[in-house]
């Protein structure tokens, strides 16, 4: 098993090497094109359109390199500035956006050295195992027998029959070497690409600011909408009921002497109205911050939630403490939304919730045995989870092939406080 995966990885890397050689060659026309576009940029009209167009192609190539690097295990973030609003193709705004982005020039600087390194390393990744194949297939033997002058490995030229036979074990060695070295060669290539293609420190900060701006706007919007909803619920619900309650009691007060029986009826009505007001307040509170979350933290709140669902839920928690309240709340509501999605869409019979805290990361997984096919691009529920988590730099990913199972994985960076009191929960 171990060897098989090792061989598979090697073969994949060799294929990657062939690919890298081909791609390295494409760098050259791209470079020539960019240089021409650059030289022509003072030409009116044409110049403004040409450079962004050429840069676009270079960026596609660079992004492909980033993707390949990610497959080789080297993560390279995309460094480009987002395009300006209302930038027309061929316009000055667009030209300036391209020309002032340092990533444009770093991409350009990478094209030639990247091509050289990619070509050489890619070729090595292919040639070494190929040489091994030559030896293993005893090709040197046949060549030696027919042309009388041939060499392989350490024997140049091959002097006798047994040396020709020895090409086989040597070939096996070369093949093993090639298979082992190919992934490493691709990794080195990716490392080299990273020097040019990764965002600079300034670009990283700029990207972070852009991301924070988006998530902050989302959070503020969501919060404002939430407050509006609460205001409306209070205004139309509990508040209105308390007004009517006061009126009913006032009326009963008036009637208590004249018609005690009617007054008693009114008081009974008032009591019922107070019950309804409380019911509404309770459901409102649950939506803002569930009391059980305040009392028991994520562990208890998720368990309580699990108990209220009409399917079989197993909950596994490995939390040595509690996260900050806002993070805890986001984690809870994200899990609740994921579970609500399961109940609404999945037709699942069982759900597993797994929560753990590893390396300052709160990891929450909700998996069900339902019909699958969940798509975050379509479901507002799943998108809402993503937004909720993004406010805390958290992420969500969904794996849901048609036919199931669906696994929603949520991550939230956070530290845990040490537990104040450990509630002796006797639940299983």
């Amino acid at each position: 098993m171990e060897t098989r995966s090792w061989v598979r990885e090697g073969l994949r890397a060799i294929a990657g090497g062939i690919f890298a050689v081909g791609l390295a060659i494409t760098n050259l026309p791209l470079l020539a094109m960019s240089l021409v576009a650059l030289a022509l940029s003072p030409v009116p009209f044409l110049g403004l359109a040409l450079l962004p167009w050429a840069t676009n192609l270079v960026r596609m190539r660079a992004n492909l390199e980033r993707r390949l690097a990610a497959r080789a295990g080297i993560a390279i973030d995309c460094p480009y500035e987002p395009p300006p609003a209302r930038a027309l193709p061929g316009g000055w705004k667009r030209f300036r956006w391209i020309a002032t982005d340092p990533a444009t020039w770093r991409d350009l600087a990478w094209l030639l050295p990247g091509a050289l390194v990619g070509f050489v390393l890619g070729l090595l990744a292919v040639v070494i195992p190929l040489y091994g194949v030559e030896g293993v297939s005893l090709l040197p033997l046949w060549l030696y027998l027919s042309v009388d002058w041939y060499g392989y490995g350490v024997f140049w030229p091959i002097a006798n029959f047994s040396e020709a036979m020895l090409s086989m074990p040597q070939g096996v060695l070369f093949l093993a070497l090639g298979l082992g070295a190919a992934p490493w060669l691709l990794e080195v290539n990716a490392q080299f690409a990273r020097i040019f293609l990764a965002p600079t420190k300034a670009a990283k900060l700029r990207l972070r600011v852009a991301q924070l701006t988006v998530t902050r706007a989302d959070t503020v919007d969501a919060q404002a909408a939430e407050l509006r909803r609460i205001e409306r619920d209070l205004h139309d619900g509990a508040q209105a009921r308390l007004v009517s309650l006061g009126m009913t009691i006032g009326l009963a007060e008036e009637m208590i002497e004249r018609d005690p029986a009617a007054a008693r009826k009114l008081l009974a009505e008032a009591r019922e109205a107070s019950g309804t007001a409380l019911l509404e307040l309770r459901s409102l509170v649950r939506g803002i911050h569930p009391p059980v979350l305040a009392e028991r933290g994520l562990d208890g709140a998720v368990r309580a939630l699990a108990m209220s669902l009409p399917l079989r839920v197993t909950v596994e928690m490995e939390l040595p403490g509690r996260p900050e309240t806002p993070v805890e709340s986001a984690a809870y509501f994200a899990t609740a939304e994921a579970l609500a999605n399961v109940v609404r869409h999945s037709k699942a019979r069982t759900v597993q919730i797994y929560v753990q805290h590893v390396d300052d990361l709160l990891l929450m997984t909700v998996s069900d045995d339902g019909i699958g096919g969940a798509d975050p691009a379509r479901g507002t529920g799943l998108r809402g989870i993503g937004r909720r988590l993004a406010a805390f730099d958290g992420t969500m990913s969904v794996s849901s092939p048609p036919g199931g199972p669906t696994v929603v994985t949520m991550e939230l960076p956070c530290v845990l406080s040490s537990p104040k009191t450990s509630p002796s929960s006797g639940t299983g």
Binding site: E295, M307, S308, T427
Partner: protein
């Protein structure tokens, strides 16, 4: 009957004291925080404790924790827990020692004074008083209950809330004999061992629903 009360809001504490005393209970001590509750219970050994879940100093669930701790210190101590919200999870924890004498009600229920006082008495007698909201949540998530008829499910719900046969009969306007017939059917269908003792039967039902 002697009562120890734990409630942090002065308005509610005084109101509850007044209400209980109007129905011939004697409130021997009314505490306003969690840490004071356990010593008060051990000192007075009341007939029943009426406890708010959320109490100072942490305003989480120390009322509940103190109640559970008290029942470990004084096994079978009747405790009626009150809260602004109810969770089947908490009900399960309260019931886990299977000793009876447990109540868990929304504070809203106090406004129906007669029923509330009845619940306090029932708990003091070793019975159970479970909030209808807890019971409905428990009933909603149990698939095997589909084998029961509507009437049987009604009876099961009333039983889970802690009512005796007589009380169920009165509430559903049927004879006591009809109620015990329904109960027999329920126990047979759900495969629970029958029992003549009201309190033990209620506990069996709640244990089943909590399972």
């Amino acid at each position: 009957m002697r009562v120890v009360l734990a409630e942090d809001l002065a308005l509610l504490r005084d109101g509850l004291t007044r209400l209980l005393e109007a129905f011939d209970f004697e409130v021997v001590e009314a505490v306003d925080n969690g840490p004071a509750l356990l010593p008060a219970l051990i000192k007075h050994r009341p007939d029943v404790a009426v406890v708010d879940v959320r109490l100072p100093p942490t305003f989480t669930d120390e009322g509940l924790q103190a109640a559970i701790a008290a029942r470990i210190a004084i096994p079978g101590l009747p405790v009626l827990v009150l809260s602004q919200h109810v969770e089947p999870l908490y009900a399960r924890e309260l019931l886990s020692d299977r000793k009876g004498g447990v109540g868990y009600l929304l504070k809203d229920r106090i406004s129906n004074v007669a029923q509330f006082v009845d619940a306090v008495r029932r708990v003091a007698d070793g019975g159970t008083a479970m909030d209808p909201e807890v019971v409905s949540q428990l009933l909603a998530r149990r698939e095997p209950l589909a084998v029961l008829t509507t009437r049987e499910r009604e009876v099961l719900g009333e039983m889970a809330e802690g009512r005796s046969n007589a009380a169920i009969a009165a509430k559903l306007f049927v004879t006591e004999k009809a109620v015990s017939k329904h109960i027999n059917n329920i126990f047979t269908k759900l495969g629970m061992p029958p029992s003549d003792d009201d309190n033990r039967r209620v506990l069996a039902v709640l244990t089943y629903l909590n399972g």
